[in-house]
Symmetry: C2
Subunit: 463 residues, 2 copies
DNA sequence: CGATTTGTACGTTCACATTTT
DNA sequence: AAAAATGTGAACGTACAAATC
């Protein structure tokens, strides 16, 4: 028994340890888990220091430590030396994003759904392809290595970004998410830490969760990772690699400067940090900046999905991989897929070779630009990040609004947006902001209507 | 320093501990890893008992224990109480299977490649589909939940197996492997143990490796898991679930009896063991036995890929999921894919609705049957498992031949087959056997030629 | 800057369960 | 059936490192 009575001690969590059987540390984990899930412990709550808890429960410090460690692995808490252990903000939040049923009355500006407008060109090409004699092979198995033709098309595609790639280093995946998950699986082990922006694409959160990889926010300045931040994370937090979205970053819509791209490439090489670069939006820029991968092709896995740029239905992504990760990447892609669809991959390749993909791309760019004009006009008195070429925009909210709150108000007004909380990594509170998808509404009218409703909410609150 | 000199002590492994810095247990892991990879320690070698090693290195028992534990997690070694710790057979073996480049001079009977013969029907249907006005949507995003139509088609498809399924419990995946990996990810956590047959589909090994799940062989009798085996594994080895292939099991070609199906269903329910049932070959049987899932639909995830039965290029699999795993499964599928191709899924649905899939299926069954007649004729004096409906056969080798050896000899004779070692789970030595794929050779002539060459090898050895 | 708070890491002890002999 | 061999797991104590005050 503890010498002192702790009944009056100010402790944020007082688990009842008496009735539990079995290993102490597991009981502790279980209680913590329950109390977080049933709401007794809210996100952000500071737990008692390990020593105090150990003292209170009359067990050894290391036993508490072990329990907390396990909880951290489960993503329930997050601790840092000096300041203590806190209940994770992610703990209760769902990682899913896109899978909500569409409500007809709501203008969808949350999920990013690419245009379908140019799909007739894709269809047309596919029909042509199917008519060919040898098309029956397109309905057989395919492999992540792709055929020579697929790989060359991939290289041609990356060339558009100013990245002269070796086609022998290209692989195919069944879409960007597939490529991302495989890349994480290939570069990292369970329990490894990977640095990301403090806000990032939720898909990487899902993938990391599935694979048991922890995401750590890297310090940023003006929405770009800093060299000190990367060095610090590497040395002090044991971060093993990075995930970055240099172009029209999700959700902040920021495009990374050339200097930072080179800095990250340099860091990757020097510190031997594998970097996964999500080039999903690269080609949406009018003059795409060169990928980080182009400065460090043997340290960076470059992902280029065609969903946003050509057609979501093609389910094809190209990966450019450092040679040392090639085998592992192939293994990971196999483990998730065995086969990519040769029909879709070949269609993608054909569209690229015949420059139809380029046409579609420019039409899409044009459309995005038109839509952003509308957004900028309506929100001209509001702080909105992202240029006219961006497929998504990031609205900074007044102090008094959290992203989540605004999301709720917007929903009541019939507009779906996503609050910054959905993109948050680690434990820091999310900024007051929401992301809007410019490409998702069915028409420019719908877009305008949606943005107007958002504007009204913003004005109302301000006054 | 140890009191005695161990220089003459019979120890199978004498790591040089002197020059290493840092944590002792990590040094040990590193040395073990190196010695296994560079061949100093061969697969199956018994390592010294933890106590002796500890004594020899003059460190604590638990330190060795911890190091060994870590190595086990990495799949390097495998230990069992009483008998000791052994170098894993998997340790150096590659988990990959299908990704080897095809050699033109070799008759491929290793990898299982489904027929392409009926693909014209698939193509025809797809062309029809693309001509429709609303086909542009087929090139947009799709979701794992599928549309109502996709799900109903899935239910109709499962009905063919005698499994009356609720379409609300059906999900879609981008192929069988995709479905399998997602299922493992949804049901289990990193470090969990899952029971399989002692020989099993290598794809499940890749997936498990990616997710950090350990596969444990379950005791079998006549190629079927026994109830005692399952109970034992559950209670004494902490096995959390099962993976089974009841129909034309890979690689043994065995089809599970009705009694065992019911037994497994009963076990699943009673012991609360999630079961992943791979129904990939179910419909290839002339009179398919009911899936285990039909006896325990709330405990079994049933996977039905169309690759083997309709067309590999469709990249579509249906999953029937217990309600309690539905959300997790959706999350896992999202994390790997975000989207299934609506074009391919809708084609699959259409083929099922219009019974074209059924036609293709019977034609494929017929073809397999014809091919097996050839195999049986040539190998009539050999012990070969599998019936005439089986897409793969399992050849029992003479005592003196290991599967691996035979594989090498066969390759020299210009035939690729897969030795039982490739399918092995855990540490027990693989039986002397090889698997041959009946469907893979381009023609019946090529098949006959391949089997004849194998026969010659078998005869030669016997005499 | 130095002291304090706080979490982290490693090695150790001991009790135990299972398998083999 | 008993004894020995062998791996497993929990809890502990100590030293340390980072963050905060």
């Amino acid at each position: 028994m503890p010498v002192n009575s702790f009944d009056n001690y100010p402790m944020s969590w007082k688990p009842d340890f008496s009735r539990h059987t079995g290993p102490k540390y597991l009981s502790l984990v279980k209680m913590l888990e329950e109390d977080i899930k049933n709401g007794t412990l809210k996100a952000g709550t500071k737990l008692p220091p390990q020593r105090e808890l150990a003292d209170y429960l009359d067990i050894n410090l290391s036993t508490v430590s072990r329990a907390f460690k396990l909880c951290e692995q489960k993503g329930l808490v997050c601790s840092s030396v000096g300041s203590g252990t806190f209940v994770s903000s992610d703990a209760t939040a769902q990682t899913l994003l896109l899978c909500e049923e569409r409500d007809r009355h709501v203008i969808e500006m949350g999920a990013i759904v690419p245009f379908t407008s140019c799909n007739h060109l894709v269809r047309q090409y596919m029909e042509k392809l199917l008519k060919r004699q040898d098309s029956l092979n397109l309905l057989s198995y395919g492999i992540p290595e792709g055929t020579k033709r697929h790989r060359s098309a991939g290289a041609l595609w990356l060339q558009k970004s100013g990245f002269t790639a070796d086609s022998a280093q290209i692989l195919l995946a069944a879409g960007g998410q597939n490529a991302l998950t495989a890349s994480l699986g290939a570069c990292f082990e369970r329990g490894d830490k990977v640095g990301t922006d403090p806000l990032t694409y939720p898909g990487v959160k899902s993938a990391a969760k599935l694979l048991g990889i922890h995401l750590i926010p890297i310090q940023t300045r003006n929405y770009e990772m800093t060299e000190e931040g990367i060095r610090y994370a590497r040395q002090n937090e044991g971060v093993k690699g990075l995930y970055i979205i240099p172009d029209f970053h999700n959700p902040t819509a920021h495009t990374m400067s050339l200097e930072t791209r080179q800095m990250i490439a340099k860091c990757a090489v020097e510190m031997d940090l594998p970097v996964i670069e999500d080039g999903i939006n690269n080609l949406l820029a009018d003059a795409p900046l060169p990928p980080v991968a182009s400065f460090a092709p043997e340290s960076v896995i470059y992902l280029s999905s065609l969903s946003k740029t050509v057609s979501a239905g093609l389910r094809t992504a190209f990966l450019h991989t450092p040679r040392r990760y090639r085998q592992k990447l192939i293994a990971a892609l196999y483990a998730m897929n065995i086969s990519v669809s040769p029909l879709l991959a070949t269609t993608a390749a054909g569209l690229i070779e015949e420059e139809i993909a380029g046409q579609i791309l420019s039409e899409r760019r044009q459309k995005i630009r038109e839509r952003n004009l509308i957004v900028d006009e309506i929100l001209k008195d509001t702080q909105v990040s992202g240029t006219a070429a961006s497929p998504l925009r990031y609205i900074h909210l007044p102090e008094s609004f959290t992203g989540k709150e605004f999301e709720t108000y917007a929903e009541k007004a019939g507009v779906q947006v996503y609050g910054a909380e959905r993109f948050c990594v680690g434990n820091k509170p999310a900024p007051n902001a929401v992301r809007i998808a410019v490409t998702t509404p069915q028409s420019t009218e719908e877009l305008a209507e949606g943005v107007k409703r958002l504007h009204k909410l913003l004005i109302k609150k301000r006054s």
